[in-house]
Symmetry: C2
Subunit: 162 residues, 2 copies
DNA sequence: GTCCCTATACTCGGATAGCAAGTGTCCGAGTATAGGCGG
DNA sequence: CCGCCTATACTCGGACACTTGCTATCCGAGTATAGGGAC
């Protein structure tokens, strides 16, 4: 089970968008440049975030992307589901209804016990992601990233932000 | 993010192996037949379970597979990791170290905040799977599966078990 | 000097190839069994 | 009648094609900007 690569990029992009001035917008190319990833693919993932209403796009020259709502109201689950999809990781194919022990469909009222257990674990995973927001990540940034990196980022901002 | 198909089959297979007499062994072909799935692919997954020490194989004629230890000591996580692998769903590529804001490797002592959050969610998922055993599934089987299906399974057992 | 218009350059958005991993399959090595033979 | 031996048939185990979905890319539609011209 592997989460899509774009989830990592989407999360980093959201964090970066959360620390720029609220009125400014950062184009996909710049976001890709900052993270050292292919611009075209980063753009694709940003489109997914846009469709989900997490970021909003500003068209035209000097346009780009910015957060559609405060970072504290964007959960990690929002970002993950926007890029990776909402369906649970475990998909029940009801194989219990096949083979020699199969009985009439009427008999299968209770949900498959195995699927139930797997979906419960899935829900735990989602609950944890739902409990944390992009704002929390930004708040914890001070102790996690070195002052030098902060300074270089600030310099980069002055270059790309008008 | 999609869990491998084989996980579902492996779990169902373990449940079935848990309800047959302890000394008996069920070949891969029979397990596949019971669940209505391709025999060759079911065999592949059983091999993974065998490598992980969850089931043990009995070679030769009248051979097959049986649980390597009591069902109560086989967690769902054991089965999932045996088939789907043990690496976490989120893979951190350290993209923070790339691009114009990158600094010396020495500065990145703290783990990436985003990866930390994702891995914590992953651990919640694993903890939930670790808390439930194949034995628990078997215990809950009585209320989940209809008496008719139980009867048909018993009949099938009499055909395939010597 | 101010306002309006036009051309530009930049942006996003969706449609299009490439590749890796999961899915599905096959055949060979090994072993417990069943039958036959000899004592 | 009993024990041993051999041939058999069945099992698992690993190596080989194929398909789906993620990865990566490109080009067209749309818009705010910047510059120039008219008043």
């Amino acid at each position: 089970m592997r989460l899509a690569q774009g989830v990592e990029w989407g999360l980093h992009a959201c964090v970066l968008l959360a620390v720029i001035p609220e009125s400014a917008a950062l184009p996909a190319g710049r976001l890709a440049e900052y993270h050292g990833v292919p611009a075209a693919y980063m753009a694709k993932n940003l489109q997914a975030l846009s469709r989900a209403g997490i970021v909003e796009s500003v068209p035209g020259q000097k346009g780009g992307y910015r957060l559609a709502r405060p970072a504290g109201e964007i959960t990690l689950l929002d970002v993950v589901e926007a890029i990776d999809g909402t369906e649970p990781s475990f998909r029940c194919n009801e194989i219990r209804r096949r083979g020699p022990a199969a009985v009439a469909a009427r008999e299968y009222r209770a949900v498959c016990t195995i699927a139930e257990a797997m979906w419960r674990a899935d829900e735990r995973w989602r609950a944890e992601l739902r409990a944390q927001t992009v704002g929390d990540l930004v708040a914890g940034l001070g102790r996690a990233v070195s002052p030098k990196a902060v300074a270089k980022t600030a310099t980069w901002f002055q270059e790309v932000l008008p």
